[in-house]
Every structure is written in structure tokens, then in C-alpha cells.
């Protein structure tokens, strides 16, 4: 058993600089963050605030130029199955069916055929895609593709799911439904979720804690714990109070940037 007092994820003074044609761009400066197991954390901020960079560092796609990113107290050295990424543009393998996409991870990690079959069936059912099990990605709607992407990382025993504006490309109705489904899965499985969004409402609806980031250079500005009882009512007055508070924070970044 892992000590639950320890954070599953910890960033200590993480900085990231990119070299772009002789220019040095500071994407992230001195980011400190601790995420407990089972927590749902949303990262919110204007574009250029480094929220995607932070997520990609946790995923292991980018290396830090300063500081440390740790999972269970061990440095993150590269991408790995414990940290499953759900991309905004899905990143599904177009030559594999829904079944094949969900079974990709278990297959890559050498599970037996029977195990893979069981895992795939379980997660297809979890995301409700039984009827489309043998369809190819290009035959699916955006919402279905994102369900496959979620099932794909869960089927691979991800402990943390990293989501980079996963519902950003979906229509409002589908987005709302997927938010409900995601919360349902999160509550049933005890997952840890790190979720990047630019929608204030989405962040308040989903998160235990909202990390507000600001641009130029990208950094963590403040954190807000969301203690509203679940399921949350998006038109309740306390929901709106939080919405106003967050909007003001984000606006102040904008005006500072413009000044």
C-alpha cells in the first residue's frame, strides 16, 4: 500500500524554456503543485499561461529545464502507462477499431489474449460503446472518439488521467454529457484527474481544486478549492459566486498583459 499522505504527483519549482529560432521562450516558471490521490484538479488560464506545457511535463512528453516533476516521489523520466493522456484531437489509431484502440495498451504491455479480451469488454461497457465496438475512428462522432480515448487510458491501468481540453472540440450538449460521465467514472474508480480547460464553468463543475494560471511567463497564480456539494448545480448562486471570482482573476491577467 502506498502512503496516502504522500501526493501522487508533485511539482517542485518546475520551469520550462523552449528555444525557438534563437529566441528563448519561457513557457513555465517556478510551478509548485501537489496533487493527492483521487483528487480532481483543473488547470485554467488564458492561452500562453503554460497549462498545456505543465500537463505535457507531467505526461513525460517534455522535460523540465528547472525543478522536478515527481510521481509517487520518483522523478518522471518519460511517458508511461500510469499517466494516461487524453488529447483534444483524440489521438486515436485510425487503423484500429474501437476494440483495437482500447486493447492497444494491454497488448503493448504483453497481456494474454484472454486478459486483453476481458479488459476491452469491460471498458467498452464502461463508456457505453458496445454497439460500436468494431467501428473505426473515422466512423465515430467526436463524443464517441473521446469516450474511446478515455477508455483507452483506463484500460491501461492509468492512475492519473491527464486531459488537455478534452471536450473543447465538442458541441455543448455532448460536452455536458461527457462531463457527467467523466465524473461518474472518476467517482466509481478513484482516479486522479488533471484537467486543462479554458472554461470557467467546466472547471467549477468538475474540480475539487482549481489551479489558476497566468501568462507571460506562464506560472501558477493561485488555487481555489471548490467545496460545493456534488452533483453541482451550474445555476446555483454559490456556483455563480465562484464563477465571478474566477472570472475576475482571469480578467486581471488579461488587463495586466495588455498594460
Amino acid at each position: 500500500m502506498r502512503d496516502t499522505a504522500n501526493p501522487i504527483l508533485e511539482l517542485r519549482g518546475v520551469g520550462k524554456q523552449f528555444e525557438l529560432q534563437d529566441q528563448r521562450i519561457e513557457a513555465l516558471r517556478d510551478a509548485n503543485l501537489r496533487v493527492r490521490k483521487g483528487e480532481f484538479v483543473c488547470l485554467i488560464g488564458a492561452s500562453g499561461c503554460g497549462k498545456s506545457t505543465l500537463l505535457r511535463i507531467v505526461a513525460g512528453f517534455e522535460k523540465t529545464t528547472r525543478g522536478q516533476a515527481l510521481m509517487w516521489d520518483r522523478p518522471i523520466a518519460g511517458p508511461g502507462p500510469q499517466r494516461g493522456m487524453v488529447f483534444q484531437d483524440y489521438g486515436l489509431f485510425p487503423w484500429l477499431t474501437v476494440r483495437g484502440n482500447i486493447g492497444f495498451g494491454p497488448t503493448a504491455r504483453g497481456r494474454s489474449t484472454q486478459e486483453i479480451k476481458d479488459i476491452v469488454e469491460r471498458f467498452i461497457t464502461l463508456v457505453g460503446l458496445q454497439r460500436f465496438a468494431d467501428a473505426y475512428p473515422h466512423q465515430l462522432s467526436g463524443g464517441m472518439k473521446q469516450r474511446v480515448a478515455i477508455a483507452r487510458v483506463l484500460a491501461n491501468d492509468a492512475e492519473i488521467v491527464l486531459m488537455d481540453e478534452p471536450f473543447g472540440a465538442l458541441d455543448a450538449m455532448t460536452r455536458e454529457r461527457l462531463q457527467y460521465e467523466l465524473l461518474d467514472i472518476w467517482q466509481r474508480t478513484g482516479l486522479t484527474v488533471l484537467f486543462v480547460t479554458h472554461s470557467i464553468e467546466e472547471a467549477i463543475f468538475l474540480a475539487d481544486r482549481i489551479v489558476v494560471m497566468s501568462p507571460g511567463p506562464g506560472r501558477i497564480d493561485s488555487e481555489i478549492a471548490v467545496t460545493l456539494p456534488r452533483p453541482r448545480d451550474v445555476v446555483a448562486s454559490d456556483f455563480n459566486d465562484l464563477r465571478r471570482e474566477l472570472a475576475q482573476k482571469l480578467h486581471s491577467h488579461h488587463s495586466r498583459k495588455a498594460a
Binding site: A59, G60, F61, G78, P79, G80, P81, R83, G84, M85, F87, D89, G91, L92, F93, P94, W95, L96, T97, F104, G105, A108, R109, F132, A135, Y136, P137, H138, Q139, L140, S141, M144, R152, V153, N156
Partner: protein, 284 residues
């Protein structure tokens, strides 16, 4: 066709009622009718331009039709060409597909390596790019010196014709895989060589397939040059031989057969592609 229909359309109620049979007959017959319109017109013009004229170098279509019948089944002229079509067709088929297979066996792994390994690309790519503009015809003399008179030179030249389309498209396919797919694979625990075979290769298949199709097309295009190497049989060989004997109707027969054989061969490849790549929105 069902598997190519988007799910959204499949789940919707069947919207299209079958059209009345008379209308559907014309809709179905329209494309083939339009397709034969132009060659039909060419035949008519050709016929009136050549029929009944003495000392015309181009034979009328009826004479070509008779020659084609004689070439296929015999019984009309009973000369050296009668009932020999199957021999020549088979010889050319074997060279086209043999040369193509050799080209594939070399160009595919080479293209994959050039696409994936920077060192191989730096060493080989410049040379290959300089060799590329050299036409297959220009290789003919050298091929005959290196491989001698006969079928080996023919194989070489056909192979050369099919080589570059396969190579270029394979390199293109490997180098243009969406980097997102590699990220997705690593995050799912698939790295290194396994990642190349489970992601890089399948993701490049549509481009590779386009290369195969173009390559096979070029193999047919260069078959006449390939069979100018002193081989006795083959569609290219009889075209060149009949030309020297002023048997222009045989030359035209050879051209027609190459055209039809190349067309059928392309259609078969397309069918294969549609089956193997039905996951790809570009092929389905």
C-alpha cells in the same frame, strides 16, 4: 458499402427509397455510356480518315480489330503472330509483376529506413535524388551492358520504373505520421521498435499504398522500353518487332492490350487497397 457509411447515417432511419427501376437503369448506365462516348468518337474519326485509302500508313480500326482477333485466337492470317497473344501477355505480365516485386522488396525497406533513420537518410537520400530524374530509357544501354541481352535487363528496367514512386511515397508516409500518434503510443507503453511496427508502419500504409499503385502503373509504362532489350516475347517486344516489319496494326494491338492490362491491374490493386485500408477515410 455498409462499413464505409458513417455511424450517424447508419443509425438514422433509412432515408433513401429505392428509385423506380427505369430511372435507376439510366443512372446506372450513365457513367459507362459517358465513358465510351469519347473512344467511340475517336473510332469513327479514325475509320473515316483511314478506310479505303491506298498507301495509308495507319490501318483502319476494322483491320486492327481483325488483327487483334487473329493475335488472340488465330484463324485469319495464319502468320507468325496468329494466336500468340497469350504468350506475349504472359511474358509481359511476368516482367511487370516480377520487376514490380523486386522494386517493392528493395524500395519499401529502404524507404522505411530513410524515413526513420536520419543517418541512412543523410547517406543515401542525396544520391537517390540525383539518380531520380534520369529516365528509364537512358538506362537502357547501360542495363544491356550490365545485365546482357534478354529478360534480366527487362526486369531491371521495369524495376527501375516502379522503384521511385514506391520509395518516395514510403519516405513521405513515414515522415508525415501525425506525431500525436507516437505520443499516444508512448503514453500507452509502446516504445522503440515496437512503436515503429505498431504505429509508424500502419500509419504510413495509405501513402505506401499510393506508392505501390503508382509504381505498378509505371511498371506498365516502361514495359516497352524494358522489352527493347532483345527479348523475343512480350507486348513491348512485338510492338518493336512489328514496327520494323511495318505491321502497324500489330503495333496498335500491342498498345491496346497494354492499356487494358494496365487498367485491370490498377483496378485490382484499388480493390485490394479498399479492403486493406477500409479504416482510412481516404480509401473507404
Amino acid at each position: 458499402m455498409l462499413e464505409t457509411t458513417p455511424i450517424a447515417a447508419m443509425t438514422a432511419a433509412p432515408a433513401v427509397e429505392p428509385a423506380p427501376s427505369s430511372a435507376s437503369f439510366f443512372t446506372r448506365a450513365r457513367d459507362p455510356l459517358l465513358a465510351v462516348l469519347f473512344p467511340g468518337a475517336v473510332l469513327v474519326v479514325w475509320h473515316f480518315a483511314t478506310y479505303g485509302q491506298k498507301y495509308n500508313l495507319i490501318p483502319p480500326p476494322s483491320e486492327v480489330a481483325l488483327a487483334l482477333w487473329d493475335l488472340t485466337f488465330g484463324g485469319i492470317n495464319d502468320d507468325a503472330y496468329s494466336r500468340t497473344l497469350h504468350i506475349h501477355l504472359l511474358a509481359s505480365l511476368s516482367r511487370v509483376y516480377g520487376g514490380f516485386a523486386i522494386a517493392l522488396a528493395v524500395a519499401l525497406p529502404l524507404g522505411l529506413m530513410i524515413g526513420r533513420i536520419a543517418l541512412v537518410r543523410r547517406v543515401l537520400d542525396p544520391t537517390l535524388q540525383v539518380l531520380r530524374p534520369i529516365p528509364v530509357t537512358a538506362w537502357l544501354p547501360l542495363a544491356m551492358i550490365m545485365f546482357g541481352l534478354g529478360p534480366r535487363s527487362a526486369f531491371f528496367l521495369v524495376c527501375l520504373g516502379a522503384f521511385y514512386p514506391i520509395l518516395i511515397n514510403t519516405i513521405f508516409g513515414v515522415r508525415t505520421v501525425d506525431p500525436r500518434l507516437f505520443e499516444a503510443a508512448s503514453m500507452l507503453g509502446c516504445e522503440g521498435t515496437a512503436q515503429f511496427f505498431r504505429v509508424g508502419l500502419p500509419a504510413s500504409l495509405p501513402a505506401i499504398f499510393t506508392g505501390l499503385r503508382l509504381g505498378l502503373g509505371f511498371a506498365w509504362v516502361v514495359i516497352v522500353v524494358g522489352e527493347m532489350t532483345g527479348v523475343q516475347t512480350g507486348l513491348g517486344a512485338i510492338i518493336m518487332e512489328a514496327r520494323q516489319l511495318s505491321r502497324t496494326e500489330i503495333v496498335i494491338c500491342g498498345m491496346i492490350v497494354i492499356g487494358i492490362a494496365g487498367f485491370i491491374s490498377d483496378r485490382l490493386v484499388m480493390l485490394l487497397g479498399k479492403r486493406l485500408l477500409r479504416w482510412s477515410p481516404n480509401f473507404a
